[in-house]
């Protein structure tokens, strides 16, 4: 095995980890605050990818502008999902919540198939491949990673430096006590769903420059995102980032050493083992 190839795969793993972390953070943020797992979260990413695709191919929008539009559109979509589907079932049993957001997943997949058929659609951007010390790195991936890092920094500053961000963290800790401080938890849920949607929209913009979109895009990234979130510990933001990098490394480097399919097998086996050893997530402290 050429060590240069492995090094290249390792770097690609980190780059993929950035975008995955974005998704894991968005999903985790919503779970931590609203306490409902959005099974259909990555389906929102799929819709965002279509949004960029159609804006660019049909209306000839510049990719950057279309990407920003996707952030806004999916943020609004996130708020709508909360108001129409999540809010009415907030106090329902968890299994009903699971069925509702799972139902949304199938609805969005089928609706996308109905509208746009199962064709794989790609922007076919001619982005350069950079050669660094004998390794070939895709500019699109580097860009996606850099933007993901900036978005994570932005999210961190939002959650720690603003009052609404601080309130979001407080709601995830004690929603009854925060109400006594004059905070309407329902408004915090709406803001959180919007922010979570915006993260999905940004991930969509960063993924459409690397992958083609189809109605079942979520089937590839959805389970991976959930695995990462659970691996890092539900509600644990730092764990989500660590889990993303870990899993994307396993998949990327494992894919070079064996095959991509085998790498996914290894990743999920590792996940199952981790769940036996640390059911609360790899970064959980033992009481």
């Amino acid at each position: 095995m050429d060590p240069l190839l492995v090094a290249e795969a390792a770097i690609n793993g980190i780059l993929l980890g950035g975008v995955l972390a974005l998704l894991a953070l968005g999903l985790n943020l919503i779970f931590g605050v609203v306490d409902i797992v959005w099974i259909a979260y990555v389906e929102l990413v799929m819709l965002g990818m279509y949004a960029v695709y159609w804006l660019v191919t049909l209306w000839a929008w510049p990719v950057v502008l279309a990407g920003m539009a996707a952030v806004g559109l999916v943020a609004i979509l996130g708020i709508l999902v909360h108001l129409l589907i999540i809010a009415p079932i907030l106090s329902s049993p968890p299994v009903n919540q699971l069925l509702a957001t799972g139902g949304l997943l199938f609805f969005l997949q089928s609706f996308a198939t109905f509208l746009w058929a199962t064709d794989h659609r790609s922007l076919r951007l001619a982005l350069p491949i950079l050669e660094v010390g004998g390794m070939f790195l895709s500019f699109a991936r580097l860009l996606a990673f850099a933007v993901s890092l900036l978005a994570m920094l932005g999210l961190y500053l939002f959650l720690t430096r603003t009052y609404i961000g601080t309130a979001i963290r407080a709601v995830s800790q004690d929603r009854e006590a925060i109400a006594l401080m004059g905070v309407d938890a329902r408004k915090v849920y709406i803001v959180t769903s919007g922010v979570g949607g915006a993260m999905a929209g940004l991930a969509a913009a960063l993924l459409i420059i690397q992958y083609s979109v189809h109605p079942y895009f979520g089937a590839a990234f959805g389970p991976l995102t959930f695995m990462i979130v659970v691996l890092g510990g539900l509600g644990n933001m730092f764990g989500a980032v660590v889990g993303s990098l870990l899993m994307s490394e396993v998949i990327s480097v494992g894919g070079i050493i064996t095959s991509t399919e085998m790498a996914y097998v290894v990743a999920f086996v590792l996940f199952i083992v981790a769940m036996f050893v640390r059911p609360e997530g790899i970064l959980s402290r033992r009481e």
Partner: protein, 243 residues
């Protein structure tokens, strides 16, 4: 300032509060006592909006507040503390209080003003106001103070204080009781104070309301109430000790 009329609250078949009526006057420091399970905390929950009263009316400054959500009631000027402190452990002490200062008012305060007010309140209760102080490093007395500081930062006209002395040693109790008095005397905040530690409470409050099995059984000056046969019976024949 606060008037309760026939307030009742049932949980299934259990009547936690039955037709409780009393008034709290502006500037008063009112003690609310009663044996365990007599409905004190349920009453606080009804006034602060955590529970909707099953019947009756709760009027604050002339307006009905029964059934409003807790955040609305907070904006009207009622704050409460919890018996067991519930700080946001992952936030700093200052962030805990600044949140209350920012969101507790009808008109959101700008960033700097809310932070400055949070620092003032922390100084008043005697807690560190630097960015580094974490709730995890505070002891029992410190957490009680943080609970009070968060409530005060919302700028209340009425404070519902739930067992501010529980878990404190004698010196800390003396300080905490003194602090409640200062909050009333210097800030002009009306206080309803639920407490188990009777000797301290009876010395500090102006008036006492006694609940037993969800009903009001006595109301009056501490000394009168302590002599009331119904109160003595409720407390299993123990006469309340006045300091």
């Amino acid at each position: 300032m606060l008037s309760l009329e026939n307030v009742s609250r049932t949980f299934g078949g259990f009547r936690a509060l039955q037709g409780v009526s009393f008034e709290v006057k502006q500037g008063e420091l009112l003690g609310l006592i009663g044996p365990n399970g007599s409905g004190k905390t349920t009453l606080f929950n009804c006034v602060s909006g955590a529970l909707r009263p099953s019947a009756g009316s709760i009027r604050f400054r002339g307006e009905e507040v029964g059934g409003l959500t807790p955040d609305r009631i907070c904006h009207r000027g009622i704050a409460r503390t919890f018996q067991i402190p519930r700080p946001f452990k992952k936030l700093s002490v200052l962030e805990n209080v600044a949140l209350a200062a920012h969101f507790g008012h009808m008109t959101r305060e700008p960033d700097a003003a809310a932070r400055a007010r949070a620092r003032d309140v922390l100084r008043l209760v005697g807690l560190p106001s630097d960015e580094a102080a974490r709730p995890g490093l505070l002891g029992a007395a410190g957490l009680k103070k943080l609970e009070l500081a968060r409530a005060l930062a919302t700028g209340p006209a009425l404070l519902l204080a739930d067992e501010t002395l529980g878990g404190l040693d004698l010196e800390e109790m003396r300080q905490a009781a003194g602090l409640l008095r200062r909050i009333r005397d210097e800030m002009g905040i009306t206080i309803v104070w639920v407490e188990h530690i009777m000797a301290t409470l009876m010395r500090v409050v102006d008036r006492v309301v006694v609940l037993d099995h969800g009903e009001k059984i006595a109301e009056g000056m501490p000394r009168e109430v302590a002599e009331d046969p119904r109160v003595i019976e409720a407390y299993l024949g123990e006469k309340l000790v006045l300091g």
